[in-house]
C-alpha cells in the first residue's frame, strides 16, 4: 500500500498521537466521533490569544479590526473549501447540531402547516431527526422516513414516493456516521428539485473525507462541524444557498445582528451576521480555517485515497475473522466500518480493545432507529483519519482476536 503522503511524517504533526493508553501506544480509530488536532490548528488558537484577541465587528481599535479580519477571512476559507458562491452564504454555528436546529427553526417552522410532510432517512443521526420531529409535532405535520436497505443503502424508490408528496423539506445525511454509506446526494437533490423540495444535507461525516462542492450538489443547505475535520470543537458551519438567509428570521437575537434597536422596533442586518448573535466563537472560526488549510494542503483526493486503502485493508482482514458481521455493506463508503461479533456485546469488545490501547466507538452512535432496523443493540465502529496506518489496522486485528478469545 502506497500512501499519497508521508503518514509517518504527518503523525509528527499530531502531538496527542504519542500518548499511551493503559501503557500501550494509542491507536485512534474513533475519528467519526472527533478527530485529533494538528499542531497548525493548536497553534492558531494560541496565536490568536497571544497576538490579536479582541471582540469583533465592534471596535475601531487595531486589535478589534485585526480579529474581525481574521474571523471574516475564516468565513472566506470555508466558502472556498465547500465551493460556495459567496462568503455571505456561510454562517458560523456551534456545530452541525446547531446548524440543523437553526434551519428547522428559522426556515422550516414558519412554512410548515398541518398535514404537510417532512422527509428524513432511516440512517440519520439523532441530530438530523429531532429538530424535524419537533417542527412536525408543533405543526401537526407528518415526518416521513426513507427506508434503508439490508446493505445499508437508501431505498431510492421509496424516497421518490415520499418526494411525490411534495414535502416541505428533505433532510438527508451525505455520509452515514454509523455505516459509512455515501448517499448519491447530487442525484437525490436533482429529484427533489423536480418536486420543488428544499434540501438540507448533513455533511458532518463527509467534509473530512472527500471534496465537497455545494454548487455542484445544488443543495439548499449544507451543514458540518469543525471538530470532525481536525478543527476545534464548538465551531460549525451552515451553508445556505444564495438569498435563503435573507428569507429567514434570526434563530437567536442579541448583540451584533442589528442595524438599529428601539424599544418598539428593531432592524436586523442582512446576510450571515444576522444569525450570529452575541460574541461568536472567534478562535474556533480561526482554528477551523487552519484545519481547512491543513486538509487542503494534503489534498482532499489524497485523503480519500489514503483512507480508502485503509478501509479495504481492514475490511478484508476483519472479514476473515470468525463471527464478524458487517452492518452496512455499501460499495460507496467514506472510511467507516461498523460490525458486530456474533455472541458478544459491542460494549465488551470496545472495553477489551481499549485495554489494548485501541480506541473505537461502540454503541448506537446516536442512530437508535438505525440500530433497531438492523436489530442490533449497537455496533463496533472503526473510522479512519489521515494519520492512521496499516500497522495500526494490524494492531486492531490482533486486539480484536484477543477480545473475541476472552469473551467467547
Amino acid at each position: 500500500m502506497v500512501s499519497p503522503f508521508d503518514v509517518k511524517q504527518l503523525r509528527e504533526e499530531f502531538p496527542i498521537l504519542s500518548v499511551s493508553v493503559h501503557g500501550k501506544p494509542l491507536v485512534y480509530f474513533d475519528n467519526g466521533a472527533t478527530t485529533q488536532k494538528p499542531r497548525a490548528v493548536i497553534n492558531s488558537l494560541v496565536d490568536y490569544y497571544s497576538t490579536c484577541n479582541a471582540n469583533i465587528h465592534r471596535g475601531v481599535h487595531s486589535l478589534s479590526q485585526e480579529a474581525s479580519a481574521a474571523y471574516e477571512q475564516a468565513r472566506e476559507s470555508v466558502a472556498q473549501f465547500i465551493h460556495a458562491t459567496s462568503a455571505q452564504e456561510i454562517v458560523f454555528t456551534r456545530g452541525t447540531t446547531e446548524s440543523i436546529n437553526l434551519v428547522a427553526h428559522s426556515f422550516l417552522s414558519p412554512r410548515l402547516r398541518e398535514s404537510d410532510t417532512v422527509v428524513i432517512t432511516g440512517m440519520e443521526h439523532h441530530s438530523n431527526i429531532l429538530p424535524w420531529q419537533v417542527c412536525c409535532d408543533k405543526a401537526s405535520a407528518q415526518l416521513n422516513v426513507v427506508r434503508v436497505r439490508d446493505d445499508g443503502t437508501l431505498d431510492l424508490d421509496h424516497l421518490n414516493v415520499l418526494l411525490e408528496q411534495r414535502p416541505k423539506m428533505l433532510a438527508i445525511t451525505h455520509v452515514s456516521n454509523t455505516l459509512g454509506t455515501i448517499n448519491p446526494i447530487k442525484a437525490i437533490v436533482r429529484i427533489a428539485k423536480e418536486y420543488g423540495v428544499p434540501v438540507l444535507v448533513d455533511g458532518a461525516q463527509a467534509v473530512p473525507h472527500m471534496r465537497v462542492d455545494v454548487c455542484d450538489l445544488d443543495c439548499d443547505f449544507y451543514v458540518f462541524s469543525g471538530h470532525k475535520m481536525y478543527g476545534p470543537t464548538g465551531i460549525g458551519v451552515l451553508y445556505a444557498k444564495g438569498n435563503l438567509l435573507n428569507e429567514m428570521t434570526p434563530y437567536q437575537t442579541g448583540g451584533g445582528i442589528i442595524k438599529t434597536v428601539a424599544f418598539d422596533h428593531t432592524e436586523y442586518v442582512t446576510g450571515a451576521l444576522k444569525f450570529e448573535a452575541g460574541t461568536p466563537n472567534i478562535e474556533g472560526a480561526i482554528g477551523l480555517a487552519a484545519a481547512i488549510k491543513f486538509v487542503t494542503e494534503l489534498g482532499m483526493e489524497a485523503i480519500s485515497q489514503h483512507e480508502m486503502h485503509l478501509h479495504h485493508y481492514a475490511r478484508t482482514l476483519l472479514k476473515s475473522i470468525d463471527g464478524v458481521r458487517f452492518i452496512g455493506e455499501a460499495s460507496d463508503n467514506a472510511g467507516v466500518i461498523s460490525f458486530v461479533v456474533e455472541g458478544t456485546h459491542p460494549f465488551d469488545v470496545g472495553t477489551i480493545l481499549d485495554q489494548q490501547g485501541v480506541a473505537v466507538r461502540t454503541g448506537h452512535h446516536c442512530t437508535q432507529p438505525l440500530m433497531e432496523r438492523f436489530n442490533v443493540p449497537g455496533t463496533v465502529r472503526v473510522s479512519f483519519g489521515v494519520y492512521n496506518t496499516k500497522e495500526e489496522v494490524d494492531v486492531l486485528i490482533a486486539a480484536l482476536k484477543k477480545a473475541i478469545k476472552m469473551l467467547k
Binding site: T344, H345, F347, D348, T351, I352, Q355, M406, L407
Partner: protein
C-alpha cells in the same frame, strides 16, 4: 456470611493475584458468565437500568429480614462487575448496604467502570441497590 467489609477485602486480595490486565478481565468475564441469569419474567421495564450502551436489570427483595439482590446485564463485563456487587451487598441489613463505601472497586482498578459517564448502567445500578435497600429496609422496620 461475610460482612460487607470482609467481602470487599476478599475481592481485593483475589485481584492482587493478577499482574496482567487480561487475567483480571478474564476473571470478571468468567464471573459474568457464571452469575445466574435473571429469570426472563423478572426482566421487566421496572427493573431495567438503562445505560447508553449496556443494560442492567436489578431485582431486590427481602428474605428473613435481609436485603437480597439478583441482577443481569446484556454485556458480559458489566455482568461480571454486577456479580461482584451482589457478592458484596446481597444478604445484608439495609443500613449496612446503604452505608457501604464500596472502596474495593477503586482498589481493584475498575473505578472507571462505575463512572456515570461510562454509560454502562453500573453507576446507576449501585445507586439503585442502595435506594432499594433503603425502601425495603423501611418496610422491615414498619
Amino acid at each position: 456470611m461475610n460482612t460487607i467489609a470482609a467481602s470487599e477485602k476478599e475481592i481485593v486480595e483475589e485481584f492482587e493475584m493478577f499482574d496482567q490486565w487480561d487475567d483480571k478481565y478474564q476473571y470478571i468475564i468468567d464471573m459474568g458468565k457464571t452469575l445466574k441469569s435473571l429469570d426472563e419474567s423478572l426482566k421487566t421495564d421496572e427493573r431495567i437500568i438503562k445505560g447508553c450502551q449496556s443494560k442492567v436489570w436489578l431485582h431486590s427483595y427481602i428474605k428473613e429480614g435481609k436485603i437480597y439482590f439478583e441482577a443481569d446485564s446484556d454485556a458480559i463485563i458489566t455482568k461480571g462487575i454486577v456479580a461482584l456487587m451482589i457478592r458484596v451487598l446481597s444478604g445484608h441489613d439495609a443500613d449496612e448496604i446503604v452505608k457501604a463505601p464500596l472502596h474495593f472497586i477503586e482498589q481493584i482498578g475498575l473505578k472507571s467502570h462505575l463512572s456515570p459517564t461510562r454509560a454502562n448502567g453500573l453507576a446507576a445500578m449501585v445507586k439503585q441497590m442502595k435506594l432499594d435497600a433503603l425502601a425495603l429496609g423501611a418496610t422491615i422496620k414498619s
